[in-house]
Point group: D2
Chain length 102, copies 4
Amino acid sequence: MVLIEFSMFPLDKGESLSPYVARILDIIDKSGVNYRLNPMGTVLEGDYDEVMGVVRQCFKALEKDCRRISMTLKMDYRKSNESRLEKKIQKVESILKRELKK
Amino acid sequence: MVLIEFSMFPLDKGESLSPYVARILDIIDKSGVNYRLNPMGTVLEGDYDEVMGVVRQCFKALEKDCRRISMTLKMDYRKSNESRLEKKIQKVESILKRELKK
Amino acid sequence: MVLIEFSMFPLDKGESLSPYVARILDIIDKSGVNYRLNPMGTVLEGDYDEVMGVVRQCFKALEKDCRRISMTLKMDYRKSNESRLEKKIQKVESILKRELKK
Amino acid sequence: MVLIEFSMFPLDKGESLSPYVARILDIIDKSGVNYRLNPMGTVLEGDYDEVMGVVRQCFKALEKDCRRISMTLKMDYRKSNESRLEKKIQKVESILKRELKK
């Protein structure tokens, strides 16, 4: 099972990127893949081809009208089918014996 | 005002990293810098030197007993003193006219 | 045309990663995609599906015997068919009117 | 000893970023820190505070006239004073018994 976090935005549309981020989140939200949005990117969880397929859709959606696009992506693959979207954080909170800001 | 998202972990301690991630979150949580934890990293907000000072503390805390350490960090600086930890997400949700998974 | 830079390595094989990096570079070098290796990752250039297809092959090659895999990837897409593997650096050197360390 | 690779650019100056990348490379090249430029970023080697000090100088140089700045950075720390700027690549080439494209 793969966890990825990515962010993608155009470099030719000026400083305010939210319309393009919204275009991407619309795709992610409707993809059926489990995700969590945060202020610096979106975490997706699923099988490699499933999540990278959503990333590809997002790229294709910007490619239509953007001349330059930047993306950063990081991946954490683990050989198990267990979801870690919540578990990774719960484990850290149980070690520290307190809730953290999420 | 700077938003950064970073993750840092040792490469010489095997597959399970939560004890080291907990060591880092303990520092971040006690630093007084505003932050949000997510399954793939932690977002911090503040002035450049403030947030990078916390990153340095986290590195020094692992350097003591880890022989190899990996970090990824991304930064989004904007010339304003307005907090964006919530605003960036709210703006996307207002464009899409619906709540997203956070 | 897309430029990506990525690095991928297992987290369950200890501190020395070169055997796994070599496994990946073997795939990249034989893929036919244009690339440049640097001390922190490998830059590939081509069409989106072409370069991401190579990244997928590298993941599949590690997935066989690695329990946990980390990847970071960044992409710079530009709407042109012109290669930028050399041009991006030449442009900076022409602005600075001197050669830089490559 | 730390190896970092970073790239930093403004988001409010349009599609062509080379003048700003040149401003940063001028700082890195004159810093005295050992570095290698590649098409997607610059690799620096040195002690943590030394290389992160150069990153800070680069940020301060853009902050003067850029309203929004993006940076990605990755770090590979190893407990040794041995330079790896060349060694990491040489090790992979010796495993594969052939030269790779650099």
